[in-house]
Amino acid sequence: METLSEPRAGLGEHVAVAHDLAKSYGRGEGAVHALRGVNAAFGRGQFTAIMGPSGSGKSTFLHCLAGLDAVTSGSVLIGDVDITRLSRSALTRLRRDRLGFVFQSFNLLPMLTAEENIRLTGRLGGRDADRQWFDSIVDALGLRGRLRHRPAELSGGQQQRVAVARALLTRPQVLFADEPTGNLDSRAGAEVLGFLRGAVDSYRQTVVMVTHDPAAAARADRVLFLADGRIVGELADPTADLVHDRMRTMEG
C-alpha cells in the first residue's frame, strides 16, 4: 500500500521529493529493512510531521531525506538536485547552503557563545547573514539577552531556540527537525513548535519534522504515518485527537 502523497493544492512547487527510497542494514538473511520504498513530496511553505511507532523508520526516513544517511536505493531530490549521487563534500556543501537541522539533543558547540553558534553555519559557508534577518530571528526567538552566553549557561529550551535560530539563519530550502521537543518540558516544547510554525507562516519556510508527540504533530499542515518502513497514511490539517486516534489504530 504505497502512497504518493501530493502537496496541497496552491502551495506551488516541491522542494524535496523522495522516490522509491529504500534503506537496509546488513545483508542476506539477517538484513534489516528500515525503509522499503518510500515515496513522498514536500512543497514549499509546508509543515509536515512524520509519525510512526518506534522502529517504523521515521527517523531513518528523515536522515535519508536530509542527506545525513546514505540510501540503499531510490533517489532524493532537493530542488532539482539528486543528493544520493553527490560526493561527500558536495553533499556537505549542499546541506550547509540549502538545508537546516534541529536535533533532539541540541548539538551546540560548547566553546562558542550563543551568537557564534547561531552564525556558525553561515560563516562556515563564508556568508555572513544580513543584520536585519539575524535581528528578527533573534528577537522572534527571545534570545536577545542571551547572545553572549555559552550553551552550558542556557536552559534546555534556550539551547533548542539557539539551534532553531542557527538553522533558520541561512534561509534553508528545507528545515529538518528530528524530535526537536524530545528533550524539553511541555512549555519549552510548545515554544519551539510555535517558532517553527511561525517560520512557516511568516516566511513560507518548509519544515519536515519527526515526532512521537501527537500534540506536536498537530501544529503541522499534514502528518505522514510510517510503519514498517512504508508510508501507511496521511492526515491533512491534523488535530491532536485525530493524530492520537490514528496512532492508536496503527499500534493496534
Binding site: 536522515h63 563534500s89 539533543s105 560548547p110 566553546m111 557564534e116 553555519t121 562556515l124 559557508g125
Partner: protein, 862 residues
Amino acid sequence: MWLIARRSFTTGWGRLAATLAAALLSVGLIAGTMQFALRAQAAVSGTGASEFARADVLVQGGSVDPDDPHAVPDGRVRLDRVAGRPGVAAATGDATVPVTAAGADGRLVMPPAGARTSLRPWVADVRLNPYRLESGRAPAADGEIAVTRHVADAAGLETGGALTVGLPRQTRALRVVGIVTVQGRAAVAAGDLLLAPPETVRRAAGLPAGTWQAVWVKAAPGVQASGLARDLGHSLGPGTATVRTAEAVRDAQSSSLMAEGASVAGGIGMLTTVAVFVGLFVVANTFGGLIRQRTRMLALLGAIGATPEQVKKLIRLEALAVGLIASAGGVLLGHPIAGALARLFAEDGFDVSVAEPSFGPLASAVPLAAGIGVTQLAAWRAARRAADIAPMRALRETATEPSDRRGLRIAGATAVFLSAFLFYGPVLAVLNDSPPGPERTIAISSLIVIGSMIIVCALAVLGPLLAGPLGGLVGRLGMLVSGEAGRLARATIARSPRRVSSAASSVMLGVALVTSTALIVLSATARFDEAGGEVMRAEHAVSTTGKTADGMRPLPRDVAGRIAAAPGVTHAAALTATDVKLVEPAPRAYTSDQKAKPLYVTVTGADQAALPAVLNLGGALPTLAPGQIGLPSTLMDAQHLKPGQRIVVRGKHGPVPLTLVGAYHDPSHLFADGALVAPATMDLLDQNAVTRAVLVRGGTAAGISQAVRGVPGATVLDRPAYVKQASATITEGMNVIYGFIVMTLVLALFGTATTVSMNVGERRREFGLLGAVGATGRQLRAIVRWEAATVVTLGTALGLGVAVGTVALIHLATGSSFIRPSAPWWIYVLVAAGALAVTLVTSSLPARRAARVPVLDAAQGD
C-alpha cells in the same frame, strides 16, 4: 572496582594502547641504559682476573707509581738476582709493552672498556703460569703469540690466524698459535694480553739480556709471601726495586677497577635520569589525556555512588596493569637498546663486549620496578583529577574543562620552579670546591640539566595559562587566513587550554632536547674549528685511523723522518705524548679542606726547531732545551708554579727533574693541552712515547701519502680535516649521547603523537557535530591545523627558551668557550620546522578520521 578496571582495560584496548606503548618505550629506555650500565660495569670491574694469580711476590725494577696499579715499573731487575734466593721456589721475568692489535681486515681490536692491549712474555713455569690454553699451543718461536680470548673473539681469529701488531717502534705481523683465558676470564684487569716468547718481549721493551722490568716469584712451600717480600726487599737494597706481595697488587688492581666502574655507572646514571624523566613526562601526559577522554564515564561512576577514593583506585589499578605489561615488554625491549648502546660506545673506544649481556635479576627486576613506579607516579595526578570530577558532568553534553583555579596553578608552578634551584644552587658550591677542568664542567652541566628538566615541568604546569592568550593570537591570524575555521580553533583553545598545553609540553620536551644538544655540539665544533685553525700552521697532518682506549691509534716513530724526506716538505714535526705524574712540588688541593689528588699531565713532545713553523701557540714560551718543560698558564696558576722553578715528574722510567721555563696557551686544547717538552726530554720521560700525529709544512698531500705508504692506518689530512679528527677524540662519547638523544627523542615524539591524536580523537563528537552544521572536511582539517599551529608555537617557544637558557647557564657557570648559546639562525628555523612537521603529521591522520565521523553518530548524542 577491580571488575570495572578489568572491563575498561579489556574494552578500552585501543585507547590504552597509546599509553601502553609510551610506557613500554620509556621502560625500554630505562631497562636498556640499566642493562648497559651493568654490562659496562661488569666489563670494567668484573674482569677481576689478574695475570699475577699464581705469583706470590712481585719484584719490580726501580720505583712504581703507587697510584696506578697497572703502572709499568721505571727500573730494571736482573732475573738472576732474584732466582735462587732462599725461599724462592720459582721466578720468571716480566715486561709490558703497550701495543695495538689489528685483525686481518685491518680493524683495530678494542681492548675491554677503559683498559689497554699489551705485549707480555709467555710464562713457561707451570707454578707461575696463570694462562690456561683454550686452544692451540704456547708460543715457541719469535713471530708466534698466544692471545687472550677477547682478542680472538674481537678479531674473529682462530689459532693459525695473523694479527698486525703495532709496537712502539715498528709494526709486525704475528701468528696466533694459542688462545688463553685467565682465571676463566677472556681478558685481565689490565686489558688484553698478547703473549710472545720472553726473548721477543725483552727485545721489544729494549731490555738487556737477563734483565726485566719485573720478576714474578713463587714462594717455596711453607714460606709466607709477606715475609719473602720483606727479605727480598732487604737483600736487593733500597731504591733498586719495589717488592710487593702479588696479593697487594691484585687488591690495588681490583679497587681501581671498582672506582672506574663507579664512574662509568655515574655517567650512565645521568643518562638514565633523563630517560626516566622523559618517560615519566610522556606517560603522565598520556594518562592525563586518558582521563579527559573518559570524563563522562568517570563522572557517571561518581553519580552512581563510587567514592573519589574508589575512582582513584580504579585509575591506579589501570596504571598498574599498564605498568606491568609495559614493564615486561620494556625489559625485553631493553636488550636491543642495550645492544645498540654497546655498539655506540664501542665506536667511541669503550668496548664492553668482554662482559656478557646481563639477564640477571638486577637487570630485569629494577627496570620492572621502575616501570611500575613510573606508571604509578605518572597516574598519580591523573587519578586525583579523575576523583575530582563532579558527578554532574556526566549529565552534560560534551566534555568541557571546568574552569581552572588560576592562583593555585601559578602557586604550583612557582613551587616546582623553585625546586629547580635545589640543583642550580649546588652549582656555586661545585664551582668553588673543584678545580677547573672537564670533570667540573660535566658536574656543573649535569646539575644544570637536571634543574632545567624541573623547569620544563614548571612550564608544563603553567602551560594552560599561556595557551589561552597565545591561542587567541594564533586564532586571530587563523581567522584572517581561514575564516571561520580559525575562529573555531581559537574558541576551542580558549575553552580547553589544558588540552593544548599537554600537547605543547611534549613538543617542548622534544624541542628542548634537540636544541640543547644541537647548541652544545655546534658551538663546541665551531670553537674547535676556529681555535684549531688558528693554532695549526701546518698545511697537512699525518695521523692514523682508528682509536684506542687512550685516544687515537699511534703512529710508528720513524714516520716523521720518512715524511721530512718527501719532496717540498720544509718542516715535519712528530707530536709524541705520554702521561706523567707531578711529584714535586706535591699537587695542591683546590680548597684547604680537601685532600690533594694525584695530578697526571699529558706531555706533548715536539721538535723545537720545527714547532714554530707548524703550531702557533699562545704565550711567550722560549725554545725548550732538553730538561726543560713548558706548562699551560691555567695549570701554573692552579698549582702556584713560577717560571724558573724546578719540578719533578714521574715518567715511565722513574722521577725526572725538569726546569719550568714558562707558560703557554693552546686555546684549541688539541695539540699540547697538558705540557710541552723537546723530543730529548720526552725520551727521558718515556722512551716508548707514542706518536699521535706528524704535522707537515710544505709538500703535497700526494707526496706525503707516497712517503707514508705501507704504514698501517696512516692517513694524510689537510688542516680542517685534522682539526676535525683531533677534536673528535676529545668529544668522544658524543656518539653515545647522540644515540641516547635519538632514543629519548623517539619517546618524546611518541608522546607528542599520542597526545595530539588523543586530543583529536576525544573530539569525534564535536567534529561530527560541526559536520552536521555544515563544516566541510577541508574546514575540519583547517581547524586541526590552526590548533596544531598553536601547539607548535607554544611548545617550540618554551622548548627553545629552555634549551637556550640551559646552555647559557652552563656557559655562564663553567666559563667554557666551547659551550655557548650561540648558534646559526637556521638551527632555530630548522627546529621550529621540525616541530611543525611532527605536529602536522601526528594530527593529520586523526583529523582525517575525525572528518569522516558519520554526522548521525555525533548528532544523536552518545
